[in-house]
Amino acid sequence: MDNILNLLWLLPALPLFGFLVLAIFGSKFSKRAIAFIGVGTVGISALIAIIIGISYLTHTPPGNSYSQTLWTWFNVAGFSPSISFYLDPLSLIFCFVVTFVGFLIHWYSAESMEEGEGYARYFAYMNLFICAMLVLVLADNLLLLYMGWEGVGLCSFLLIGFWYKDDENSAAARKAFIVTRIGDTMMLIGLFLLVKSFGTLNVAAILSGAPAVWTQGSSLAFWGAFLLLGGALGKSAQFPLQVWLPDAMAGPSPVSALIHAATMVTAGVYLIARMHVLYDLAPAVQMLIAIIGAVTLIIAGFSALMQNDIKRILAYSTISQIGYMFLALGVGAYSSGVFHFFIHAFFKSLLFLSAGAVILALGDEHDIRKMGGLRKKMPVVFWTFLFGAGALAALPFVTAGFYSKDEIIWYAFASDKGSIWLWLAAFGGAFITSIYTFRMVFHTFFGEQKTEISYVPGNRIKIPLIILGILSLIAGFVELPEWMGYFAPFSKFLNTALPAVSLANVAGSTETILLLINMIFALLGVWIAWQFYKKPQLLSSLQTGAGKRLSNFLFEGWKFDWVYDHVFVRPAVWLSRIDKTDFIEKIYGGVGGLNLWLNKMFDRTENGNIRWYTLGVAVGAVITLTIILFL
């Protein structure tokens, strides 16, 4: 079945083709044709991805991986990255999610973006994004991965600033691009280090060669792993580079769903999972990942509690959920991290899309305090949103999020790299998650209707929502925990590419106890959210004095923006302001000025006065004589 795997290059090529067609001729097409091309190319890609997946599963290629070289990118002094794609379980899962969820979101946006200008531009960017994302996950060397990496960053920039006429959107887009670029540059430096150490950037070669070249815990391994982590932190909006993601919500909702929830922001997870050998060699960095994940999920969870903009809540919850994935990676539970990514892609894009439908219906209203009562008016959106919210809050048994998230929480404790503190963070985060999630649900769909519905979503919006909603419920059944019969094809499948988690010696009963606590607190969170929703005075009683200041602090995302603004942005701007005309210029200007001044001075001596000249001669003669005689 090798010939089917040969179709691999079509995956990114089709969206690229769509992009080129739309970018060059887009303005001449009708909206129907644009949607057809934009959605169609991604749809075919998704189809091919499924076919490839089936063929991979039925006829697993030798070595559990397959690679396809298109051409050698360049070859300099033995360093020769090529344009080639690499398929293994990890990239297959990412491919599937990218194309499939991507296709659903494209489909959705065929309707939601129909109003307003730039339809062709929108689909062109989206197609380019899918292409870049596929290049990222399929790349067989890190340089090509970096190409995809920057490509998705670019598309994110373009799509956040899609409504370019608003200066704020442009600023948000710029911020996203620059903050991630800081991470990217770290990653690039990491690549230099890898080139220096290995002379190649081929992933497989590095993974197999690393243990021989770098010793466990050596400083090179530390820096290599650390620098790559920097890239991952930027892209995945993890502490301390998380500040760009909430602002990135300035883009259209499907963009948030696709880029800032399902795919691009999880590129960091992919990178770390892909390069897991390096992290095994650098335990300090791996611990750092776990801590960063834990810190991020707490920080973002608390911030999400205080937001009123529905998309900002979802943005913070995305940061928080990716924090879980990082936590999983950090404790060595790679496949759990990927599993959570897999599930998260469904329910978070679903939440964004439903929220987008709500926003569309209410005439661009983002504030959840002004929504309400939509349960009856928009039943489809309500139910799908509820499924997504349930999965996000990890409500027990029925939702997919339960299986993926609880696995991580468990491993945070039980893995030999885990600890009680990590578990506490993960557990606390889960509790907060269910509070803010259901706060959002109650405000949006229950109670009085506060804003008129101005648009009723059609089928192109509803069908993707329903598909994603179903997946949010059932996708978790591909991986059941041990006490439910240990049915885990997902992690088995992944374990051919990623190492299994190694457990510390923990009693089996502990798992059950911890799990029960989890479930209880998830439900408790829902109850608390309901209490606060029912009795708003409860909230306002908290909003006094220190409480108010605290909530403000959380609302502004722990003031990270403020700090960065004062520490980095303002000094840089100030520096460029004071030296706009370049002080070097002044030096040369000074030389020129001095000459002009001397010219003027000498000019003045030429006054035509004979006696003045004579004096000059006489003084000159005296000086000359003195010099000759006495020196």
């Binding site: 030429e606 006054n607 035509g608 006065n609 004979i610 006696r611 000249y613 004579t614 004096l615 006489a618």
Partner: protein, 102 residues
């Protein structure tokens, strides 16, 4: 015959030269400047004579003859120029006559 020592002669010459120089620098009337220049020339001539006498060489006197000739020519030319200048500008003040400026 009274012998004059070389030092005395040179001293006299330099005093004369200085008087001439001060005259050139301080006088504003071109005529006086010209006269001062004559004094300076003569001072130079005197120095030559003294030196020539000291080393018993004729060169000093030869040089003096040259200077005399040059001074005569200079006076002739200078006076002619001054006359012309006076005719054109109605003044001999060197501060006013700063035509060399341009």
């Amino acid at each position: 015959m009274v012998t004059v020592s070389m030092n005395t002669g040179l001293l006299l010459a330099s005093i004369l030269f200085l008087i001439g120089l001060v005259g050139v620098l301080t006088r504003r009337n071109i005529l006086f400047i010209l006269m001062s220049i004559e004094i300076m020339l003569n001072a130079t001539g005197l120095a030559f004579i003294v030196a020539g006498a000291h080393w018993l060489q004729a060169d000093g006197q030869v040089m003096f003859l040259f200077i005399l000739a040059m001074a005569a020519a200079e006076v002739a030319l200078g006076l002619a120029l001054i006359l012309q200048m006076h005719r054109q500008h109605k003044t001999l003040d060197s501060n006013v006559l700063n035509l060399l400026k341009d």
